[in-house]
Amino acid sequence: MIWWQRLWRRKQMEEQLDKELSFHLDQHVADLIASGHHPEEARRQARLALGGPQQVKEQCRDARGTRWLEDLLQDFRYSLRTLRQRPGFAAVTLCTLALGIGATTVMFTVIHGVLLKPLSYPEPERLVALHGVTEKYGDQWGFSYPNFLDCKRESQSLAPMAAWRYGGGTVSEPGQAEYVDGREISSELFAVFGVALSRGRAFLPEEDRPGAAPVAIISYGLWQRRYGASPSAIGTPIVFDGKLYTVVGIAPAGFQLDGSADVFTPLGQVTEARMQNRAANFLRVVARLGPGVTLDQAQAELALISRHLAEQYPDVDAGRGFEAQQLRQELVGDVRPTLWLLLGAVSLVLLIACVNVASLLLARAVSRERELAMRVALGAGRGRLIRQCLTESAVLGLCGGALGVLLAAIGIRPFVLLWPGSLPRAEEVRLDWNVLLFAVGASLASGLLFGLAPALRAPARELEQTLRAGARTVTGSSRRLHSGFVMSEIALAVVLLVAAGILDRTVLRLSSLDPGINIHNVLATRVALAPGALQKDPARIRAAWQDVLERSRRVPGVQSVALADIIPMREGYNGLGYWTSAAPPLPNQMPIALASTVTPDYLKVMGIPLRHGRFFDGHDRMDTERVVVIDEVLAQHAFGALDPVGKRLWIQAIGPTKVVGVVGHVRHWGLAGDDQSQVRDQIYYPFAQVSDALMRLFSTFMSMAVRTSIPPLNVVEPMRRELRGGTGDQILYEVRTMEQLASSSLARQRFLLTLFGIFAGLALLLACIGIYGVLAYVTSQRVPEIGLRMALGASARDVMRLVLGQSLRMIFVGVGVGLGTAFAAARLLEKLVAGVRSTELSTFASMISVLVAAALVASFLPARRASRVDPITALRQD
């Protein structure tokens, strides 16, 4: 029989054992009678020879080798029974644990899905993302097209390699005009990811060249939406941004690069001038490590290639390197610290929950001491008792864990939706076996954690005393353990409270910062010109924009309108090098400014203060002098105390310009991020002076800012109608109010604050329950002592003071221990969350006073009860 069979056939085995032994006895008795003994005597002798039947059976059971499992099952049933007997205790502990384990499981599920799970491509560990790195501005760079082509040609270890850039446009046929995200990709992109198209084919290398036949790959979603998933979509024409393409393939379902896209077109067919410009780093590059190649080897090869390029093109590529990084890390980006931070916080809550349950269990263990002593006296081993206690806490832990997983299953979707912005790889976040395994592990670990102290109290010595002593005596060691629990709960709560307090301060401080613009009543939206207008010559495009401005002004509620290529606090920026003399240094040594091209009303719409000089007006045109307006930060950097107005500025890709005005700084990188960002200088230049060559390119990503006299979202629909245009395919998309953008720039801080607030509140509540429970328990055990004190003349006030004093000591030790940890936590927050300052001592002080006050309230009830003890009954009690 295999061991597990033995477990199930326990009853049968018991019967057989019984039968075997009685056969032995009967046989022996029969033999003895046959040899002349009296039947009674024979039976006596046979029994003596065999020994006590129960002992023999017990030894036989031991010999089976499955004894521990049988005991485990027995303990398991026993602990379920004890739980059922005390439903109140069971409910409190299970809820506490379910909350702790549930929250931890949610965080782990997210971390597992986002950070730990391999990407769902073949051999995902070989996928890498490539960046340009410069000494001055770090690794935020993309690739220029010539550099990409050179790297791709030279590299042996990274093959295939592919590049893409963000795009987007209006799909006007077949069906209704619709703005969709797009990507211009090089031909090997799908090969890099190792995925097959769901239909059709990828781009051929010869299609990835200027002048090749225009072909497109559409997303699975677009195919379902616009083509009803018809297989005949392949080979049909699609009009994208006014240009006719032939659909050659359908991308795999759910395929994403940096976000999803609906139309893919060949990068090599793009004819813009900057495709030839080695200094224009606008491409993102991915590659696959060749068989047997390590990341380090690829890195070394890239270093070699970049050295060659630097020698060949010293003016742009000197000081520029390339770096390969695991694609998974690249995709996940900056959510990593947030996630670990939250897991840390949630683990603290779980720890507090464990401590709480431990102190409840301990109180119970103390009152069960006599039961346990009795069992030892009846022959149970100490190890056996410890095992039983641990089984009980494991059962508690597992039941709590099961409830926790249930909570997590319900809570995971809302949590992901709550995430500020979009959580990368959100579709990977779900409960699976790994998560369940984690939950079981966390439950068992918690069970062990809170079960250990009570279990180790299993009586070993001084049985007699325990049995004789009244059940109400609390020994010194258990009181110490109890206050130890309270102290650690307080210490943990301090950490969470201080963290929440710091985040609260941060959010308050950041939201009171001046964004540099008047964010009220401003709408910002991207505008996709009618694709027909985009194909025309630059003068027609300018006219189309003028038409957009004029039509918008006619919409009721609109005060002023301006065009801009970038909008503050929204994604996207254009960094250009600038210099103050006619002899600019190499491009890679120039300081970089945020450059934004705008129409004259921009200042009025955004409410940016003019410091010196003037802003643009209708006289700044192609045929007049090139002018720029700079912000006060650039003025300070470039000109110091000098008045910049009238000075000259050389700007990369624009050339020599004259500074005509200085305006206030705008927190482009968001309220939280702007102070720390590397590029803070700002330049504005007139949209009217954008060169003819660039007009079409700029027109594909222009936005419109609108100041309104009524709530800005109310003008959206009338404006959509007004701007739709003669062909009905001129579209507004990504419509936001500036208030939304400003608040979403603090979304991460607010999100963390909300969660930390919840955790800290939970911690405070649990700690208070813990203090209340422990004090109530300890004082109730001290009733005879208190009665004696009162009989000897102590007043109710003295007794209150006694109990509150005891609680205050625990609180202060806890706070002391917690403070050190809280300082460390504050440092961590400062490092991980933009805008946090860890040194605000007043935050510490206010949070600790909240905690102490709450803890005192929790201890007040037991203290008052103790002070109302009637000495006579108290002394008679025992």
Partner: protein
Amino acid sequence: MTAKSDLPQGTLDLLVLKVVGLGPVHGYAIAQRLQQVSRDVVQVPQGSLYPALHRLENRGLLAADWNETETGREAKFYRLTRKGRAQLETEAASWQRLTEAVGLILGMAEGGAE
């Protein structure tokens, strides 16, 4: 019946294997056989016989079937498995070596006094 010595540690298993090796046999008969063969010199506590049998069965050295005895009652008959036979041979051999060695040492002690 005088001066019965206790069974040396670990030898009960060996004896049980040996007895069972002679043919399928039930627990009571093993006890009887052991007592007869050892001519009442070795005390086999019947109480430890059954745990030993169950242990050996658990280790796969013995197998058991329920059969009728000649008196018509059902009894649990033990028999040696292949693994048990191998175990019996190695243990018997090592026991043989041990007793020879002990005998040698004891004999030498008498001669070595010269």
